[in-house]
């Protein structure tokens, strides 16, 4: 990784945005509508708030160890060997994520768009693109993201505008029928699918501290806002019953576009948005894993790991994504707890340990000023 060239704050914003939307845009509305019914849109705003809290936690953690990536922070907080072990656990999380993402891609494309194409072919072709981007590195990916971004925004605008004539405001009434509990529950459940922690690996690549933190927060906020808009539109156009019972509600939503019998059958818009952001998501994950392996095992180069990793992704995808029902069941029962362990609980525990460590060092400072000199700037930066 060429650290000296770095990535700009705007590019980091785009990566965060892409990572947040990623696959979530296709599947989120169904789960949220299932629990929160008419209040799905409030739930998705709750999910945004939870996501932002997560990012604030990550930023606070990163401030304690400026210039270090997720894996380096893990080692710095818990010590060398436990840190490496924890990094491996995180890698396991990332790899299972990539597996389900690839599975989702295969099933969506082969189930809804090109039904006679086997999912494996779609997955392999997509993986080839991801391999190319992994070989080129994060800096090139960030630039690619910059190229994609205007298109994603334009297509999102077209999608949202084209859907407005079909809005039925009645569909979101009554508001808060069953109180806040289902809303919070649904919000919490959908907040674990954006996985913005992955970008902790690349956070140090943005030079200015202020602008990278702002980009991180704004990217998460913007991505989540788009998700909320899609959830709101799904409920307003399809109604909760259909949103909840669709395998890919956003796709069902895009299929309903019909303006004066002229502009219709434009679900390609949604597929394009999804493919572009999905590419960012899977490439970022790929690169973060390479970085992790390099950091754990102290490797000099990482490119020779790309092909074995890609093969591993395929195997995991084929074995985890058995069918849609199985995955939905796992998502509803297991994934939330599993995922929140990595997104919320571990970072929170790490942060507590880190704060204690830094404070203890501060107390030790007058006794042993020479030993802790290197830690000094970091402890000053702690919030």
């Amino acid at each position: 990784m060429k650290r000296h060239s770095g990535i700009s704050a705007l590019q980091f914003f785009i990566l965060t945005f892409g990572l947040t939307i990623g696959t979530s845009i296709l599947v989120i509305p169904s789960g949220v509508a299932h629990i929160a019914r008419e209040d799905a849109w409030i739930a998705s705003l709750v999910s945004m708030a939870i996501n932002l809290l997560m990012v604030i936690l990550y930023i606070a953690l990163a401030r304690l160890y400026p210039g270090q990536s997720l894996y380096e922070i893990l080692e710095a907080v818990t010590g060398k060997w436990p840190g490496k072990l924890l990094s491996l656990v995180y890698l396991f999380y990332f790899i299972s994520l990539v597996g389900t993402l690839l599975g989702n891609l295969g099933f969506f494309v082969s189930g809804e768009v090109m039904t006679e194409t086997p999912p494996e072919v779609v997955q392999i072709i997509f993986l080839i693109a991801a391999i190319i981007s992994a070989r080129k590195g994060i800096i090139i990916l960030a630039r690619v993201g910059e190229l994609f971004f205007p298109w994603v925004v334009l297509l999102l605008l077209i999608l949202i505008l084209a859907l407005t004539p079909q809005i039925e405001w009645n569909y979101i009434k009554p508001v808060l029928e069953d109180g806040w509990l289902p809303v919070l529950q649904a919000g919490l459940q959908s907040s674990v699918f954006q996985e913005v922690i992955v970008l902790m690996v690349f956070l140090p690549l943005v030079k200015q501290q202020k602008s990278r933190e702002r980009a991180y927060l704004l990217g998460t906020a913007a991505g989540n806002l788009v998700l909320s808009a899609i959830v709101l539109l799904s409920v307003l156009v399809l109604g909760i019953e259909q949103t909840e019972n669709s395998t890919f509600p956003a796709y069902a939503l895009a299929k309903t576009i019909n303006i004066g019998n002229i502009l219709q059958r434009v679900e390609g818009i949604l597929i394009t948005i999804w493919i572009l952001t999905y590419f960012i998501k899977i490439s970022v994950l790929f690169l973060s894993m390479l970085q992790g392996l390099r950091s754990i095992f102290g490797l000099k180069r990482q490119n020779h790991l790309i092909y074995p990793l890609a093969a591993l992704f395929m195997i995991i995808a084929w074995n985890t994504y058995i069918n849609t029902v199985y995955v939905n069941d796992i998502i509803a029962t297991v994934w939330m707890k599993f995922s929140s362990l990595f997104l919320l609980i571990m970072p929170a525990v790490l942060y507590l340990i880190a704060v204690v460590r830094v404070k203890l060092l501060k107390q030790e400072q007058p006794e042993n000023p020479a030993g802790s000199q290197t830690q000094q700037p970091e402890s000053q930066k702690s919030p």
Binding site: P174, E241, Q242, K255
Partner: protein, 402 residues
Amino acid sequence: MYTKSLGCILLLISLTVLSGCWSRRELNDLAIVMALGVDLDKDGYAVSAQVMNPGQAGNLTGGSNGSLPVVTYKATGRTIPEALQRMLSTTPRDLYLAHVRVLVFGEAYARQGVGDAIDFLTRSHELRTDFFLLVAKHTEAIKILDVITPFEQIPANSLYSSILVSHKNWAGTGKVTLQQFIVELERGGSNPIMSGVQLQGDTSEQGSLKNVQSVIPKSLIKQAGIAVFKKDKLIGWLGEAPSKTVNYVLNEVDTTEGSIDSPDGGVAGFIITDAKSRIRISINEKNEPEFVIQLKAEANLTTLHSRLDLSRTASIKELEQRIEEKFDNLMAANIRIVQEKFDSDIFGLGEELHRQYPKLWRSYRKHWDESFQSVKVSVKSDVAIRRIGSVVQPQQKEMEQK
């Protein structure tokens, strides 16, 4: 340098070879299904598909071999997809369902419940949700798909546009897409409707060109009011006036024509150009909901068969009042009819109660259909006459003055 340009050339060549999709389907390998019909059969389902015959579309007088622009195939099966696949043994091409414009259910099947058909329609990736659903009144779906129609070469297109035209300009018929049907079907506080179609005239030669080779076509397909469903089962039909009322309450009326008795005897004809309705709910002292349908409409005068002096604003006021009275009484009476005949809330009153009084709705949720039959519904309309046409005084009055 050489390797680079060679690489470029190879890439360009591969473009020509690699283009196309895995699951491509060429237009000349497809049979584009324009309409589907679903009937009951002893095996399960009898499915009929009206398929476009592209070679003949464009000349109704019979092409080179005299065949018609459409072909209707029929097959049976335990499920609808099975029947459709079995149909392939008679068709020369693969059936393509994405362009289905109307789907017709036979009455017998609709009475038994269309839920299982809906499951297939929504589960299939190829079908969309924006085509119209119809019930063939007193007949089978295949009979409807076996009529040659004037004007439109493809009968399915004729059906499709006649649904639109009659709904927009007459308002006595329904216009229900699959999407709307599912939404109403799955809700607790409302029941779905569908529009009906019917055959009219001498049906002996409906399927051949002879049907349209006379100035008055021997048989025609007619839009036939609204079919009332309870959940997914057809339970009855509404006549013209109740169908209109349903459309008024559901806010589906665009324009329609009507007439009232003029104040001095005679008849006044008017056209409704704009109608909007809202459902207001008030809670009475027994903690029961009472519904008021508020209707705001604009009307134009189209004809006057009387000696009414139209130069006075008072006569316009009087006409407006009479139209309002007619709306209030007739619609209330029609709603009453629906309430008495069917325990099915096709107006979506329950859903409105759910939206406005979610707490009260809880006590009704389980047994809404029974409560629907006894709730009080009234109509309060507000009509404004905007235009009286190109002349002022009615012809009868003009003649009298001379």
